[in-house]
C-alpha cells in the first residue's frame, strides 16, 4: 500500500495550503419561492413521499410549539426543538430504508416521527410515565425505539459517532444492504469522538452516513469560535471520505444528496459525510435564552429561509397541496398533540422495581438488597416520595 503522497505533484518552492484552498460548493435545488433552480436535478420523489415528508414537517412544528409551551407551563421539565432544521432531518431520513439504523444527537425527533413514532409514544417519553419505552430514566427528548431502528439518545455529545461506524460495519459483516446514519451538530464535531469515528469508518470501510447539522451555534458558541476551517465538510476528504455540502433548509437538496449518499455507501461499503448548512431558529433548549448571544435581526433573516415554508410552496406549485389542506393538517395535529398530552400527563410513573432493572441483565444480589431496604424505608414515609407512593 502506498501513502497518498507518492503520486502527488512536487513543487520546489514553499507554498502552503489554507482554508481557501478548499472550495466546497453547496447543493441547492429549491428556491425560496418554491420553484426549482433551472438546471437542478430533482431527487426521486412522488406525491406520496412528498406528503409523508410534509406531514412530518407539520407534526414536528406543532409538537415543538406545543411542548415548548408545556415546558413554560411547568408540565414537563425540559424541551428541545428542531425548528429550522426540519428539511435537514426529514429530507435525510426520508432517503433511507426503514432497516437503516439512526443514531441521533437529540434534536432529530422528526426522524423518529418519520419512521412512525406515534404521538402517544412522544408524550409518554416527554412525561416519563410508565409507558415510556425508556422507563422514565432519561430527561425529556431522549427518544429511542428498537422497532423503528432508532437508537436511544444519550446526552454526552458525539459518543454516537464512532458507534455509528460500528453499526455500519455490522451491516457489512451481516451481509445486509443497510447502513447507519449518524446525526450531530457542528459543535459535537469538535469532540475527539468525531475524529475517531470518521477515521475508523474510512479505514474499516463502514457503510455509514455522517450527517452534520451545521446550524450556526453550539449553545451560545457561534461557528466562528468553534472551528477555523471550511466548515465540517472540508474534513471529509482529509479522512478519505466521500463528502457533500447541502443547503440544509432545502428539502429537495437534502433528499437528493442523501439518496445518492446511501446508494454510494451500500455499493461501496464506504462512509459518506454530509454537511447541511442550516440555522437553529429556536433557543438551544428550554433552559436557554439566545437573546444573550445573538441578534433578533439575525434570527429574522433566517426566518426568511424557513425550510418548511419553502417545501410547502413547492408542493402547492405542484398542485399536491392547498393552503386549506395545510391549515387543516396543523389543526388536526394541534388537537391530537393536546389530546395525547392530557392522557399522558395523568399516567403514573413506572413501578419502583424498574429502578434496579437494566443495570445488568438481571439485578445483582446487592441491588436486590438495596431495593428491599429502600422499600422498607418508603413504606415508613410514603408521603415523602410521591412518585412511588402506592406503587412499590
Amino acid at each position: 500500500m502506498s501513502n497518498a503522497t507518492s503520486d502527488n505533484e512536487t513543487v520546489h518552492r514553499v507554498s502552503f495550503l489554507d482554508r481557501e484552498s478548499v472550495n466546497i460548493p453547496i447543493l441547492k435545488v429549491l428556491q425560496a419561492d418554491g420553484t426549482v433552480y433551472d438546471n437542478a436535478v430533482l431527487p426521486a420523489i412522488d406525491e406520496v413521499l412528498a406528503h409523508r415528508i410534509y406531514d412530518t414537517c407539520v407534526f414536528t412544528r406543532v409538537l415543538d410549539e406545543r411542548m415548548l409551551g408545556a415546558q413554560r407551563q411547568g408540565r414537563i421539565s425540559f424541551y428541545m426543538t428542531c425548528t429550522g432544521e426540519e428539511a435537514s432531518i426529514i429530507g435525510s431520513t426520508a432517503s433511507l430504508d426503514d432497516g437503516d439504523v439512526i443514531l441521533a444527537q437529540y434534536r432529530e425527533h422528526a426522524a423518529i416521527r418519520y419512521r412512525g413514532f406515534t404521538t402517544e409514544q412522544f408524550m409518554n417519553q416527554l412525561f416519563s410515565n410508565e409507558k415510556d419505552l425508556g422507563k422514565g430514566r432519561q430527561m425529556p427528548i431522549h427518544y429511542g425505539s428498537a422497532e423503528l431502528n432508532y437508537q436511544t439518545v444519550s446526552s454526552p455529545l458525539a459518543t454516537q459517532i464512532p458507534q455509528a461506524t460500528g453499526v455500519g460495519y455490522s451491516f457489512k459483516m451481516q451481509g445486509k444492504r443497510n447502513i447507519a446514519i449518524c446525526y450531530f451538530g457542528e459543535g459535537a464535531a469538535s469532540e475527539g469522538d468525531f475524529h475517531a469515528g470518521l477515521n475508523m469508518a474510512a479505514v474499516v470501510k463502514s457503510p455509514t452516513i455522517f450527517f452534520c447539522r451545521n446550524n450556526g451555534y453550539a449553545i451560545s458558541t457561534p461557528t466562528s469560535e468553534q472551528f477555523c476551517g471550511n466548515g465540517i465538510a472540508s474534513r471529509g476528504p482529509g479522512y478519505g471520505i466521500h463528502t457533500i455540502r447541502v443547503d440544509g433548509n432545502d428539502m429537495l437538496a437534502v433528499l437528493a444528496a442523501t439518496q445518492q449518499a446511501r446508494a454510494y455507501a451500500v455499493e461501496n461499503n464506504a462512509p459518506v459525510l454530509i454537511e447541511a448548512m442550516t440555522y437553529r431558529l429556536g433557543a438551544h433548549s428550554s433552559s436557554d435564552d439566545p437573546s444573550g448571544y445573538r441578534s433578533k435581526d439575525e434570527e429574522a433573516k433566517w426566518q426568511q429561509h424557513d425550510p418548511v415554508k419553502r417545501f410547502k410552496l413547492w408542493m402547492i406549485n405542484k398542485g399536491w397541496l392547498t393552503e386549506k389542506q395545510d391549515a387543516e393538517m396543523y389543526e388536526k395535529y394541534r388537537k391530537e398533540v393536546l389530546a395525547e398530552l392530557k392522557v399522558a400527563e395523568k399516567l403514573p410513573m413506572a413501578m419502583l422495581d424498574t429502578l434496579i432493572e437494566d443495570v445488568y441483565d438481571t439485578p445483582t444480589p446487592r441491588l436486590q438488597q438495596q431495593l428491599k431496604d429502600l422499600k422498607k424505608h418508603l413504606k415508613k414515609y410514603p408521603d415523602s416520595y410521591p412518585n412511588s407512593k402506592g406503587r412499590l
Binding site: 430514566r137 430527561m139 454526552p156 469532540e191 449553545i219 458558541t221 472551528f227 433552559s287 424498574t354 429502578l355
Partner: protein
C-alpha cells in the same frame, strides 16, 4: 460583606484570580461572552478580554490537554467543564497527564497551575447525564486534589486556594446550591486552606460526615435526630484528596460513631475509603459499625430521583439505627 449566592461567589473568586495574577486564563464551553450556561463567568470576558476569558471548541479532551500545556509552561489554567458528567471525555488527559506530570518527569515539569471547575450532583431533575457525582474516580488518582465547597462563603475561599495551589485541583461545584445557597461573603480576597475538614457543629453521640450539597442533608437529619435527643457532631470534609483523616478520627474518638453520606453510588464510593481508614484509626473507640448513606448502585435515575437520593430521612433512620446498635 454582601449576601450573595454561590454563583456570584464563584464569579467573584474568578475575577480576583484573574486580577491578581496576569498569568491566569479562564476558558471552557460557552464561558466567554455568554458567561457559561450557569452564568458563573458572567462579565469576565468584558473585564479581562478575549485572550484571557474565552469559549473553547466543544471538546473536554481538548480543554484538559490545553490546560495541561498552558500550566506546563508557566501559566495558570482555570478550565470549566460544563457538567461533571462530561468530564469523562477528558479522563485520559486528567488521570494520565494532569495527575502525573510532576511525578513522571522527576519534577522537571509540573501542571500545578491547573484547576478544573465543574458543576456536579443531582436533585435538579437532570437524569443520569446531568446529575452524577464522579469525585471517587478522581480520588483514586494520586497527584490530583479534589475539593467540594458547601456554600457561597466556602466556594470563594476554596476556589481561590485551589487556583493558587501548587497542585492540580478538580473543584466540584454543587449545582443544586448554585442559586439556592446565599451567604455572607467578604468582598476581599481570602483563601480557605485545602486539605482541612471543618467541624460545623459539635455533638456527642455520633459524627456525621459529608461534603458539598449533602451537607445540607446531614444538617437536616441532625436536626431531626436532636428532637429524639441524639446529639450529632457534623463535619464537612471540604477536600477529598488529600482528606483530613485526623479531624475525622478525633471526632469519632469522641462520639464513638460515624455516619458518612454521599450522593454517588455506595459501591466504590469515597465513603468506603473513609470507613476503612477510620476503622483502623478508631477501632477500639467505635461503638457501632460505621454507617454509609449513599446513592444506590444504579445510574442516576430521573423519575425515581427522590427515592435514589441519600436524603435527610434515610440519614435520620441510619443515625437512629447506629446509635441504637
Amino acid at each position: 460583606m454582601a449576601e450573595i449566592n454561590m454563583l456570584q461567589a464563584i464569579n467573584d473568586a474568578l475575577s480576583i484570580a484573574l486580577e491578581s495574577n496576569e498569568k491566569s486564563i479562564l476558558f471552557g464551553e460557552d464561558v466567554g461572552h455568554f458567561g457559561g450556561v450557569f452564568r458563573a463567568t458572567s462579565g469576565l470576558q468584558a473585564k479581562f478580554g478575549r485572550d484571557r476569558c474565552f469559549n473553547t471548541p466543544l471538546t473536554e479532551q481538548g480543554i484538559a490537554g490545553f490546560a495541561n500545556g498552558l500550566a506546563s509552561n508557566g501559566m495558570v489554567a482555570i478550565a470549566e467543564i460544563q457538567f461533571a458528567d462530561y468530564i469523562f471525555p477528558a479522563i485520559d488527559q486528567i488521570v494520565n497527564e494532569t495527575a502525573k506530570f510532576r511525578y513522571r518527569s522527576g519534577n522537571e515539569f509540573n501542571v500545578g497551575g491547573v484547576t478544573f471547575r465543574t458543576p456536579y450532583g443531582g436533585g435538579i431533575a437532570g437524569g443520569h447525564y446531568h446529575s452524577q457525582s464522579p469525585e471517587a474516580y478522581f480520588t483514586q488518582t494520586a497527584g490530583l486534589k479534589v475539593v467540594v465547597p458547601r456554600n457561597a462563603y466556602q466556594a470563594k475561599g476554596l476556589l481561590l486556594a485551589s487556583i493558587r495551589d501548587k497542585n492540580p485541583v478538580i473543584f466540584f461545584e454543587p449545582k443544586r446550591l448554585y442559586r439556592a445557597n446565599i451567604a455572607e461573603v467578604p468582598d476581599e480576597d481570602y483563601e480557605i486552606e485545602l486539605g482541612k475538614a471543618e467541624v460545623v457543629r459539635q455533638g456527642t453521640d455520633i459524627t456525621l460526615l459529608a461534603w458539598g450539597a449533602q451537607m445540607e442533608i446531614i444538617e437536616n437529619a441532625a436536626d431531626m435526630a436532636a428532637k429524639k435527643g441524639i446529639s450529632c457532631e457534623i463535619i464537612d470534609l471540604r477536600t477529598l484528596a488529600p482528606w483530613d483523616a485526623e479531624t475525622v478520627a478525633t471526632s469519632v474518638k469522641k462520639t464513638g460513631r460515624l455516619l458518612i453520606n454521599h450522593e454517588a453510588p455506595l459501591t466504590g464510593g469515597f465513603a468506603g475509603e473513609i470507613s476503612a481508614t477510620i476503622q483502623e484509626e478508631c477501632f477500639l473507640h467505635l461503638e457501632s459499625p460505621i454507617a454509609r448513606v449513599c446513592g444506590l448502585d444504579t445510574p442516576y435515575p430521573l423519575i425515581h430521583e427522590k427515592e435514589y437520593m441519600p436524603d435527610a430521612l434515610k440519614t435520620f433512620e441510619a443515625i437512629k439505627a447506629t446509635v441504637n446498635f
